[in-house]
Amino acid sequence: MNTEIQENTKEKSDEESAEKNSLFKEAVFQLKGNKSATIGFVIIVGFILMAFLAPWLTPFEPNDQDISIRKTAPFITSHILGTDDLGRDLLTRIIYGSRVSLVIGTISVSISLSFGILIGLISGFYGGWVDRIVMRFIDIMLAIPYVLLTIVIVALLGPSLVNAMIAIGVSQIPQYARVVRASVLAEKENDYITAERSLGASNFELMFKSILPNSIAPIFVQATLGVGDAILSSAALSFLGLGAQPPTSEWGLMIASSREFVTSAWWIVTFPGVAILLTVLGFNLLADGLRDVLDPRMKD
């Protein structure tokens, strides 16, 4: 009898996985047809390629100074986007800057994701007093505005790029925990979870093998948005002198050190900002598209 049920369930789960596979294909197909997702994807791939191929894309070094050519205007010499106040090639620094920004984005989102998933999963799955305590704590964390929390954490840890990543990652955990918890709550009521539980699946298996993979969609959207947010936050931190330190070619820091040239060299201020804007736009576009495809209820 028991084996029969098991076989049935196995068959069902095979069917489910086949269905899921086709759902995945369907999602990819829809994503391809989604304009904003496609544009976002192209921008992001562009920046990733730029980050990896940096040394081959430019003949200059990001930190090579040459005072004799300082503040060269763009589009005139071989320094296409001009040079900064120390004569460093601006385009080269922007290209190398993509490495820093993408690393910050990925690492801080990984921090928030891993803790957020763990906390949200436990809180949503066990419910009861565990959930109440965790949610209370998260509400309190969310009462402190995110930008402020990030700035304070990094100020307390000491200004550096690593601490900026930690600060951004940590202060975003509550947001992720909430998203994960919400989708876990919806998912755990399904019949297949009850079925698996009656077949003796452990809580750990239920949480990580059944519920999590099935509630991943909104988490995925949140993480994509999160990378863009993290890049913006790290630029802001560097701008305030709390993130990357000179001479790192970080976009926010480049804008900060160009502040005094607002009157004399517009390009030093403008181009790093455009780079930030484009990258973040890429992630926001992709997230918009993902939301349309993965969560059809959000569609207009």
Binding site: R136, F137, D139, I140, M141, A143, I144, P145, Y146, V147, L148, I151, V152, I153, A155, L156, L157, G158, G228, L232, A235, A236, F239, L240, G241, L242, G252, I255, R259, V262, T263, W266, V269, T270, P272, G273, I276, L277, V280, L281, N284, L285, D288, D300
Partner: protein, 338 residues
């Protein structure tokens, strides 16, 4: 209604207590000794010890926490290490500048945001819709401080239309009445008939308010569009249209009213964002508000000031959200009944 408000107020207490606790321990447990920071690297061990005693830092942590809670309840946030002034007084002095900036940023973002959202929703898939939604997306992807610098570069340096920073032309010195310079300027105008203060205050506000309001504007425009589109699909709108009511009236009188609920929530949430975002905007525009003050406090590792500043901003954030929730429940009875 009263029951709902009382319930929400009761829930407020643990949240406020939690915020104070988290902020206290975050700062108390962070590396670095405030006494050493205050006295500098060359201070002797004895003088540091003496100061630690004066500040109560030599007491066990739980005692420090208890004392801090006691003081916060009495609205005493301690004294700034840097200036020696009471933190609450410093906040009071810097608050009007931030409030004024936030109010104007909010007015700008809400009016323009709702207008763009309505234009988009009523002309769905037209180039106006596409254009305003594309700019909204660009708006949320932009670093605020960069936008502020670009504004200064174009409108202050190149075109010489607006000042690069500050709240008021120093030539028009006057004794602040409310601290909100536009309001004060208006009072001066009424009293003496001199519009200079009012005009100068407005002139200085334009760029910072637009820079601070850009991201909220983009979010408001997007939420207005989607919320209005949802309402426009409903039957009662079709009925209104088929009854021959003018389109403009259908949209502004019948549809937008019901679409406003999610917009109110989002606008309410933006208040916290504005307060926090003010750190960057105020730094770029040398705007003497809470944000710039807090930034300098962080830079100087002025612990009591940082602690007090964050607690103050977070509590205002919580209170404003509560106010929005109550407002929301007034407009939408479903909320308070559930």
């Amino acid at each position: 209604m009263l029951k709902y408000i009382l319930k929400r107020l009761a829930l407020l207490i643990p949240t406020l207590f939690g915020v104070v606790t988290i902020v206290f321990f975050m700062i108390a447990l962070s590396p670095g000794d405030p006494a050493r920071v205050m006295l500098g690297e060359r201070a002797t061990a004895a003088s540091i010890e003496k100061l630690r005693h004066e500040l109560g830092l030599d007491k066990p942590l739980y005692v420090q926490y208890g004392l801090y809670l006691q003081r916060v309840v009495k609205l005493d946030l301690g004294k700034s290490i840097k200036s020696g002034q009471k933190v609450s007084e410093e906040i009071r002095d810097h608050l009007p500048a931030t409030v004024e900036l936030a109010i104007w940023a909010m007015i700008f973002s809400t009016t323009v945001g709702i207008f763009l959202g309505v234009m988009s929703a009523t002309r769905k898939n037209s180039w106006i819709d596409f254009g305003s939604m594309a700019s909204a997306l660009v708006g949320v992807s932009m670093p605020v401080f960069w936008l502020a610098l670009v504004f200064i570069m174009i409108f202050s340096v190149k075109l010489d239309l607006f000042p690069t920073g500050g709240r008021m032309n120093i030539r028009y010195y006057f004794t602040p009445i409310s601290g909100l310079y536009v309001l004060d300027g208006f009072i001066v105008l009424l009293k003496s008939g001199d519009p200079k203060v009012l005009l100068s205050a407005l002139h200085h506000l334009v760029l910072p308010a637009i820079a601070l309001g850009t991201i909220p504007l983009a979010i408001t425009a997007r939420i207005t569009r989607s919320s209005l589109l949802e309402v426009l699909n409903q039957d009662y709108i079709k009925t209104a249209r088929s009854a021959g009511i003018k389109e403009r009236r259908v949209i502004y009188r019948y549809a937008l009213k019901n679409a406003l609920l999610p917009i109110i929530t989002v606008v309410g949430l933006q208040v916290g964002m504005l307060l926090a975002g003010a750190i960057l905007t105020e730094t770029v525009f040398s705007w003497p508000g809470i944000g710039k003050w807090l930034y300098h406090a962080i830079e100087a590792r002025d612990y009591p000031a940082v602690q007090g500043g964050i607690i103050f901003i977070s509590i205002s954030f919580v209170l404003i959200n509560l106010l929005v929730d109550i407002l929301y429940s007034v407009v939408n009875p479903k909320i308070r009944l559930s």
